[in-house]
């Protein structure tokens, strides 16, 4: 290998990118420049394969949106002065290498995106995809990821209030760990931005000392796992939630007191990306003294620039306010240092003591990053969707084989490890489908839900991606919540593969359309490519396997108040249970949402028809103490098509007052059927019968049935 090939491989760059870099610099790049370009032009930092497609999401923005793509997180205005900052992010690759730290630092990273904006983090949600329970390391991966999320979230004092956990063989060698954080801006709270402003203002680093952890992490996450991935271990960062907690409190304090001009967390590619992005946004120059960055071990300038040591922030302050700022941070026991200042020259200059290491226009790195329109099959982007398969078999077998299986078992052994109530705002915790928090100033409800169902994505990308918006939105509506805005975390395989790129583009298109349909702005997001694994098949050939394409979504919604939220399970015996159709009725799901919100107000419990169809949904509603008996005349039930049909976009309601409920349905000419009646205990659905006792015994072990490690 010659020197150039060596560097291309070390810095994970393509020859064409090297040519572009050389052209922009007008010379052969130095080692420092190689390192800078490698980090900022990585897929992870530059979004080079996704950018042109993500741009279309801006069509979904509406006047609720205060801040969106481009800042650390999206901010939406809920009225009455209350605003919410939220975002979702992946930490898939690190979590597969080291599940505890990978998941923990994923939580830490997404929290920093939130409080960087001046918003107090009030909730966390997670979206997890694992492989088969019998796949190598899978028990330990599940256990480690859950402990990691718990270990970090609980300690920083942010409740984990909801989530989703799915299992499929395609994740055997590439699990998905997506975390969403939600922050609250009370009336009058200032929003902090990351745009560097003011020549002569100081550049300050605060938080943990910098070490070698995570050097080159950004470019690691931008390639697939190969054999021998153990070498990547030093690329994984170690988190310290205690430091994060101190950072949260101190940063909110200085933002509140208006002691910072701009602030940005140091995430992927650490100091490099934070400093260059801040300078580029402000169209301003920056002189940085790398030797002044507080370190905990000897680091080369290159390592210092690329270190992904956790719990660090970069901020800009006025020299006149330095003393006050320093006092706040020192009071919280944090290390804070002035490492540079803003200059008029539009260049970022990196110094080591007096020696200049590099001088470069930040736009060259940030704005001129490569943008790829990677090949995909345009004809397949909005082709007619095929029909979604129904699950088949008799009800008894379905119950035994599927309902008690890993897809439907209770997640209690996971969420019980999360503090769901710290902050004292939790109304509905992770034991129900949709989480609800009470907004402190107005007393209204803030609902949080994550979406994307693997079993649909596996069959049809467009149906699945639309469902990632519709389904969580409808789940909110039947609890009386109006969906307000959405963040996404797009997990896909190798974008250089046209099949994968087709899945990606089709998903983006479906998300965009569904969000336009529901008037849901996409305010922030994250893309994770290269979720694939290379392995040997039986014939000894190397094959690449992509994950199920997974455009995970995180939705927030608003509720007028926090009282009388319909339960997920039946509440009282002797009540008639209704199935109310969505979608086909009025032609637009937006209208259905409005109706479902009204119907929720008349209901004691509600549930969307879920995976496994009407049959499994009714079983789920029997998980309290109340049972159910089918109405033998109900066409929806006797019709074998519907009972196991999985995407009806229909909802099951248990009305408190049957007359009022039926009046509403007939007034609005809604299509519905009566499924049966609730009873004292046992469950009978067509030819399926089970006693309360047997049902409770069957369900008791939950996920522990397949994951003994969680016991």
């Amino acid at each position: 290998m010659n020197d150039l090939q060596n560097k291309l491989s070390r810095y994970r760059m393509k020859p064409v990118e090297y040519e572009k870099m050389r052209k922009l610099l007008g010379k052969e790049p130095s080692n420092i420049e190689w390192a800078l370009f490698s980090a900022l032009w990585s897929e992870h930092c530059s979004y080079k394969s996704s950018k042109i497609h993500l741009k279309k999401f801006s069509e979904t923005l509406n006047d609720r949106v205060v801040n969106s793509q481009g800042e650390n997180a999206g901010v939406v205005d809920l009225g009455q002065g209350e605003r919410i900052a939220f975002k979702m992010e992946s930490h898939n690759h690190p979590s597969f290498i080291e599940p505890y730290q990978g998941a923990a630092t994923g939580v830490g990273g997404i929290l920093r995106d939130i409080f960087t904006m001046g918003a107090r983090p009030i909730a966390l949600a997670d979206y997890l995809c694992f492989g088969s329970p019998t796949a190598p390391r899978m028990q330990a991966l599940v256990d480690g990821v859950v402990r990691g999320i718990a270990g970090y979230g609980n300690s920083v004092g942010v409740p984990t209030v909801t989530g989703q956990t799915q299992f499929d063989d395609s994740f055997n060698q590439n699990i998905l760990v997506n975390a969403m954080a939600v922050g609250y801006l009370a009336p009058g709270d200032p929003i902090a931005l990351s745009k560097a402003e003011g020549v002569g203002h100081w550049v300050v680093v605060v938080g943990a000392q910098t070490g070698k952890d995570g050097v080159h992490g950004a470019s690691m996450a931008s390639q697939s796992f190969e054999e021998g991935q153990d070498d990547l271990k030093p690329n994984v960062q170690i988190g310290d939630p205690y430091f994060e907690k101190l950072l949260i409190e101190s940063c909110l304090e200085v933002i509140q007191k208006k002691l910072v001009v701009a602030i940005q967390d140091m995430g992927a590619a650490g100091l490099t990306s934070s400093s260059f992005e801040m300078a580029s946004k402000g169209q301003i120059g920056m002189d940085l003294r790398l030797d002044l960055v507080p370190v905990r071990e000897n680091l080369s300038p290159e390592e210092l620039l690329l270190s992904e040591s956790q719990e660090r922030m970069l901020l800009i302050c006025k020299p006149s306010q330095w003393e006050q700022l320093e006092k706040h941070f020192l009071n919280w026991g944090l290390v804070v240092a002035k490492i540079g200042e803003l200059t008029a020259g539009r260049k970022v200059r990196l110094f080591w003591e007096k020696e200049i290491l590099c001088e470069i226009d930040p736009d060259v790195l940030v704005e001129n990053a490569p943008v790829y329109d990677r090949p995909y099959h345009a004809g397949q982007i909005s082709s007619a969707a095929k029909e979604i398969k129904r699950i088949s078999g008799n009800l008894k077998d379905l119950y035994q084989q599927k309902f008690l299986g890993v897809d439907h078992s209770s997640r209690e052994s996971i969420y019980r490890q999360y503090d769901q109530r710290v902050g004292a705002l939790t109304v509905q915790d992770a034991s129900v489908d949709v989480a609800l928090l009470r907004l402190p100033a107005s007393g209204r409800g803030l609902s949080i839900n994550v979406g994307c169902r693997s079993f649909l994505m596996k069959q049809d990308v467009q149906i699945g991606a639309k469902d990632a918006v519709y389904y969580p939105a409808l789940q909110m509506a039947i609890k009386g919540c109006q969906p307000i805005a959405l963040t996404d975390c797009l997990n896909f395989g190798n974008p250089e593969n046209p099949e994968v790129m087709t899945q990606f583009v089709a998903s983006c298109e479906a998300l965009r359309r569904a969000c336009l349909d529901l008037d849901l702005p996409i305010v922030s997001g994250n893309v994770s490519f290269y979720n694939e694994t290379q392995s040997q098949n039986a014939r000894g050939e190397l094959v690449r396997e992509n994950i199920i394409p997974t455009p995970a979504t995180g939705l927030i919604g608003l509720r007028e108040n926090v009282s009388d939220v319909p339960a997920d399970v039946f509440q009282k015996s002797g009540r008639t249970v209704f199935l109310v159709d969505g979608r086909e009725v009025q032609g637009s799901l937006k209208v259905d949402l409005a109706h479902f919100i009204q119907l929720s107000k008349l209901s004691a419990s509600s549930q969307m028809v879920s995976q496994g169809g009407l049959f499994f949904s009714l079983l789920k509603m029997c998980q309290g103490q109340i049972g159910f008996e089918v109405n033998e005349k109900s066409e929806s039930l006797t019709n074998k098509r519907t009972i196991t049909s999985e995407i009806l976009y229909a909802a099951i309601f248990e009305p408190k007052d049957q007359d009022m409920f039926e009046n509403y349905l007939s007034q609005h000419k809604m299509s519905f059927s009566k499924l049966g009646k609730t009873n004292d205990s046992d469950i009978s659905i067509l030819d399926f019968f089970i006693t309360r006792e047997a049902f409770d015994t069957d369900r008791a072990r939950g996920l522990r049935r397949d994951f003994e490690i969680l016991a």
Binding site: Y415, Q417, D419
Partner: protein
């Protein structure tokens, strides 16, 4: 005049703000007391030590906080009979500081546990929770909440009526189902469950309201 309660703030405390809001909802004045400082004891009617992960729970939960400067004032306040309440991490700190007997070790499950528990009120302190019902419902959220002490000391605790709250269905392996204890003089009280997370119907229970 309204009474003032002091809420001790350690780095890593995370229920301090929740307690502040509880105290003010009850109509008292609340003031944070920073871990680095001592304070004027006569300014306060009562002191509260919040939950969280003080000093990151490093070394042992509560071990470092027990040695922080503010605790000198807390100890002196308690010795003079001033009412002190510890919740969760606050309980751990009070045992580490020697103001309460016993120790809180890792849950039997070796995992963090968040769940609702039913509790029996077995005794009464001199100040906190005097109007509590016989059985109450509160949430727990802890990884190290298993109360432990030597058999002989347990006997003393029982004889002196210092067992404040017990779990009806023991979630963590606590000795004698203990969820909360009192000191000998009954002015220092602590519990692992979180009353401040159960003070409104929408929180799932209002039983915490009567603790202050």
């Amino acid at each position: 005049m309204k009474k003032k309660m002091g809420i001790v703030q350690f780095p890593g405390s995370n229920c301090d703000r929740d307690l502040f809001s509880f105290v003010t909802k009850k109509g008292y004045f609340a003031e944070f007391l920073w871990h680095k400082n001592s304070f004027n004891e006569s300014d306060f009617e009562a002191l509260l030590l919040p939950g969280g992960f003080s000093y990151g729970d490093y070394l042992r939960a509560g071990a470092l906080a027990a040695l922080s400067p503010v605790m000198t004032s807390v100890k002196s306040f308690a010795k003079k009979g001033g009412p002190v309440l510890g919740i969760c991490n606050g309980f751990q700190i009070l045992t580490e500081a020697g103001l309460l007997p016993g120790a809180l070790i890792k849950n039997q499950s070796l995992r963090f546990q968040d769940q609702w528990v039913d509790l029996e009120v077995s005794s009464s302190g001199t100040y906190f929770g005097k109007k509590l019902k016989k059985t109450i419902r509160l949430p727990i959220a802890h990884g190290q909440g298993r109360f432990y002490l030597p058999e002989f000391d347990l006997k003393l605790l029982q004889d002196n009526d210092q067992i404040w709250l017990t779990y009806l269905d023991n979630p963590n392996g606590s000795m004698a189902n203990i969820a909360g204890v009192l000191n000998r003089e009954k002015n220092v009280a602590a519990l692992m469950p979180h009353p401040e997370r159960a003070i409104e119907d929408w929180m799932g229970s209002k039983d915490g309201w009567d603790f202050l």
